[in-house]
């Protein structure tokens, strides 16, 4: 067992699960999507991205790319949330909630690809 591998896997799976936790629920119901979950998802996704830095293999490059996609989507979701609550002052209406959640849904897709890659990589290593 390799501690580095444990941490790596842990963060990738955690990024996907947190993302899923935020995403699940009615798309336009603000009570189903808590902002702290989004915050946690962003932080864990960023950490997962940095963990993937510096791997020059093909699979490492795809790993990094999926993470960057997830970061982009989640940060965009965060910005929309900040604009809705603080800039325009309209609060979490059904429209803004659904756009935040759909962006997080896209990020989740990227995270799922990432998890799939992790599983494939592990399955390929026959040790």
């Amino acid at each position: 067992m390799n501690l580095e591998k444990v941490i790596f896997g842990f963060f990738i799976v955690l990024a996907a699960t947190l993302n899923f936790g935020f995403f699940v629920g009615d798309i336009d119901n603000p009570t189903h999507h808590h902002v702290y979950e989004l915050f946690a998802a962003i932080v864990v996704n960023l950490i997962a991205t940095v963990l993937k830095f510096g791997d020059r293999t093909q699979i490492g490059a795809v790993h990094l790319a999926t993470s960057l996609v997830a970061d982009l989507q989640l940060i965009a979701a965060g910005i929309i949330w900040a604009v809705a609550v603080h800039v325009t002052g309209e609060g979490m209406t059904a429209t803004s909630v659904s756009s935040v959640v759909s962006l997080a849904g896209g990020a989740m897709l990227a995270n799922l690809v990432s998890v799939t890659l992790l599983v494939v990589e592990t399955a390929m290593m026959r040790r």
Binding site: V43, L46, G54
Partner: protein, 569 residues
């Protein structure tokens, strides 16, 4: 991969500090969104939202310190902000220190220089040569190539040498890198397979390395030229066996010259004249080794090469060497030759000359001085191993001084710049003194003791644009004599001597002015610098070419040329 991508190296090293920073930010923001604030009346107010907390931490952690959020903090919030400030200072310091450490890291530096080198080699837009090994010999070649304006790339094993090279102000931009040239991937990095790489010079001081380089070049880019230096005869044979274009063994080459000087002094004088540095004066009279009894001191690679030539010339000699069993039938004295005794035993008093060729310069000087003291009329041939000792050797004034690195450099340059010269010299030595005598007299008449410039010209579209066009487009016949005429007064001939004409693999020695030229001919000329410039003008300017051929002045501008053409038609 040798280079190691700099970008990936930075990313990998920065992983830990970046994760720490993200964690510190996350914890700080989270704390601020939990601790309740206070309003103006001192009542408890809701905590900051995530957005405000991120804003606050962003300007605090980067020490910008806006202080812009209007509401004063509660004491609970202040307590937490103290923690945040110290945490972020630790996080940033750690990141910056890691980055600084990375910049100073030798492996990072190496990756950086290698990447820059690779980039510079890749962008080479002109034809270039690859010099492997830039010690004494390599830098002599490099400097001369630079003077001719030719580009080159240097691979050299020693880091100090590369740093010295960086300090030399070359006219051209010369990428140099400290890498082992024996490894094929390093050769490829230095542009071995670059489309503009014209040739490789294997000039390291190790025969094995030169062998490895030559083999790699033959396999990886068989179309380009390889010049290799070899000091052992075994290596020389090995190199030739797989088709190395030129193998330069300084000892054998010098011994050949010495033998030439003994049996055909006129040829030797011509060789000296044609291979010397243009503009310098030949010594007059040229010192020529006499026939008679010789003493060879030091029977290493150099001594053996000379002894073989002496055998062939039928010269009598005796040997002084510290080793006792050389398996040679000549008189042998065991010793160093630095004292008078072994020299006397070898018959120095009755000798006409001495060849001093050990690997140690101080020993060589000491032997030569002792020998000259015993017999002042001796003809002294010396080997100088280090260029740095030149001052001592100049002060001693040996008749012939052999410097291996100079011989190799001279040979390389002659082969690179004037490939026809090697052919001419070979023919010259076959022909012998009787044939060379009139040529030497002609040279003497034209140039005196000055060494002329020697260069070759190919009559093609690149090297002789106007001439090539005249011959191919107009089908006019041009004679060699036309090229020798002075472009400002065609009645006078320039001081220009055609030495060789090569056509379809055949060669004509000393072609006369009536020779008709054909496209694709190779010509070897000897002449003064101004004659060389005039020839260049004739070859490239149609106006000048027409004048020297016909005496007719051609109109300069395109319009006038057209009008004249119409008129003629």
């Amino acid at each position: 991969m040798v280079a190691g991508n700099v970008f990936f190296l930075i990313l990998r090293r920065m992983r830990a500090p970046l994760i720490l920073l993200i964690l510190i930010y996350a914890v700080s923001i989270l704390g601020l969104t939990l601790i309740p604030g206070v309003d103006e009346q001192g009542r408890s107010a809701p905590p900051l939202s995530i957005f405000h907390a991120f804003y606050f931490i962003s300007y605090t952690a980067t020490t910008i310190g806006f202080g812009e959020i209007p509401q004063a903090f509660s004491n609970g919030q202040r307590l937490w902000v103290i923690v945040c400030i110290y945490l972020s200072v630790v996080g940033w310091s750690y990141s910056i220190l890691t980055l600084l450490g990375l910049v100073q890291d030798s492996s990072f530096q190496h990756a950086l220089t290698t990447t820059r080198f690779r980039w510079r080699v890749r962008r080479m837009g002109e034809p270039f040569l690859l010099i492997c090994g830039c010690g004494e010999t390599g830098s002599l070649v490099g400097r001369a190539l630079d003077r001719q304006g030719r580009r080159f790339v240097v691979l050299e094993a020693s880091k100090e040498r590369v740093e010295e090279l960086d300090l030399e102000d070359f006219k051209t931009d010369t990428p140099a890198l400290a890498l082992d040239a024996r490894l094929p991937e390093n050769l490829i990095l230095a542009g071995l397979q670059h489309p503009r790489c014209q040739g490789v010079l294997a000039l390291t001081n190790s025969d094995e390395a030169n062998l490895a380089i030559a083999i790699a070049v033959r396999l990886l880019n068989p179309s380009i030229q390889v010049l290799a230096r070899a000091e052992q005869r075994r290596t020389e044979d090995n190199l030739k066996s797989f088709g190395t274009d030129q193998v330069i063994n300084p000892f054998e080459r010098f011994a050949d010259y010495l033998a030439l000087a003994v049996h055909s002094p006129v040829c030797y004088q011509l060789v000296e004249r044609l291979t010397g540095t243009a503009g310098q004066q030949l010594p007059s009279p040229l010192p020529l080794p006499p026939r008679g009894h010789w003493v060879i001191c030091g029977y290493g690679r150099f001594g053996q090469a000379v002894a073989r030539r002496f055998d062939a010339e039928g010269l009598d000699y005796s040997i002084i060497d510290p080793r006792s069993d050389l398996g040679h039938d000549k008189l042998q004295v065991v010793g160093m030759g630095t004292e008078a005794e072994p020299l006397r035993a070898a018959g120095i008093e009755g000798a006409v000359g001495i060849v001093v060729g050990t690997e140690n310069d101080v020993t060589n000087l000491s032997v030569a001085m002792t020998a000259q003291e015993i017999n002042p009329r001796l003809f002294v041939v010396m080997r100088q191993n280090q260029v740095a000792n030149s001052i001592l050797f100049q002060a001693f004034k040996a008749h012939i001084c052999m410097v291996p690195s100079r011989i190799i450099a001279q040979e390389c340059l002659a082969l690179l710049a004037t490939p026809l010269l090697a052919l001419f010299l070979a023919r010259l030595q076959q022909a012998g003194d009787a044939w060379a005598q009139p040529l030497e007299q002609e040279m003497q008449r034209r140039f005196g003791q000055e060494i002329p410039e020697v260069w070759n010209v190919r009559l093609n579209a690149q090297e002789a644009r106007a001439l090539h066009r005249t011959m191919v487009m107009e089908g006019s016949s041009v004679f060699l004599g036309d090229l020798l005429k002075n472009p400002s007064q065609r009645e006078n001939n320039n001081n220009l001597l055609p030495l060789l004409l090569q056509r379809d693999g055949g060669a004509i020695l000393l072609p006369g002015p009536e020779t008709s030229l054909q496209p694709g001919d190779w010509l070897l000329f000897a002449g003064t610098g101004s004659a060389r410039r005039d020839l260049w003008l004739t070859l490239f300017s149609e106006k000048t070419l027409t004048y020297v051929r016909t005496g007719r002045e051609l109109a300069g501008s395109w319009l006038w040329q057209q009008l004249q053409g119409q008129h003629k038609a």
